[in-house]
Symmetry: C2
Amino acid sequence: MKSETRKDEIIKTAAELFKEKGYSAVTMRDLATAMGIKAASLYNHINSKQEILKEIIISLAEEFTKEIEVIVSSNTNSLDKLSQIIALHVKISTNNANEMASLNNDWMHLEDQLSYYLKLRDNYEATFLKIIKEGIMSSEIKKANPEIIMFSMLSTLRSLYLWVPNKEDSNANDLANNLSKILIQGINK
Amino acid sequence: MKSETRKDEIIKTAAELFKEKGYSAVTMRDLATAMGIKAASLYNHINSKQEILKEIIISLAEEFTKEIEVIVSSNTNSLDKLSQIIALHVKISTNNANEMASLNNDWMHLEDQLSYYLKLRDNYEATFLKIIKEGIMSSEIKKANPEIIMFSMLSTLRSLYLWVPNKEDSNANDLANNLSKILIQGINK
DNA sequence: CAAACAAACTAACAAGTGTTAGTTTTTGTT
DNA sequence: AACAAAAACTAACACTTGTTAGTTTGTTTG
């Protein structure tokens, strides 16, 4: 367990700023001011602004990729797998709210790593969709358009980062359970 | 019915570009190139870059505000009202996909009109929440956290702009019905 | 103490930013 | 054909952008 380096602090601060105004609207001078130093000093620790974005987004995307592989391979039914996906998003969004903002909103500003990111995202969505289709075939899930189901669930899960920080009172398990009920069982009696 | 002015064309083109890269990453030279003219020529029709953003966002926000007032005042039950809200989002997102991107992602770059926008948004969410709470009290809606219900629904509805353009094959009514079923009745059998 | 390293600094750059001023071209109307 | 209005142009501005070079300061370690 390595201790936090100066580079890590910069990336963490950058993620805070990116969340508020987006990657393009945050200047290296903004970032430096937030760190209490001058812009040029940042370059003792990082190679470029772009590198900061890359580190934020790619590490998260890889975490999602790794975890959904575990879920899809687990020996449970489809609805359980969906609940596990929900819990995964709640967990990551709770621990990385600022970084999730960049993942959701600034991925298109990736340069060299853009195609790699898109590969990971496509793969994630394909796996998600596969679970839903299996659930429909096994009659666990209502016979509806699988893409619409995934779209609806993913939209909510992708917005969690905006919402989770305000819910510190209730814990992550409560939120995941609540969300699973609403997304899976609906809201009417 | 006034015909489209040059200013309208510029705003429409700007919305397309803003959707792809966000307000901050689109330059006036980008916009001019997309219009086939030089950047300075834009200023024969618009006063500033900021004005373009304002026109895109505020007109949409006012439309939502006006329409939800009609819905909340309508003489129907709460679930019907929620279905009407879903249909409203589908309709506006279908007709203004690019503009919806700015509303969702670039509102924080509003300058003079930021506080007005926030007022409209707060009002919209308060009305939405009121409908959900009424539905819970009248036992139409499951007794769950109303904020989580609204958050979940709004997340999906706010993402529609990303998704609706790919669904040109099925019409807006189909999509609204599908979504209403999934969001209200859930996905399990 | 001295050497080595980490982390800050000042100063500057080349390119890109939104915008203005003044001028020319295009279009439509009489 | 003549004129006005609309819409484009060139040129430039003041400022901001990410980044580099070279230097100084502070801290750790032999």
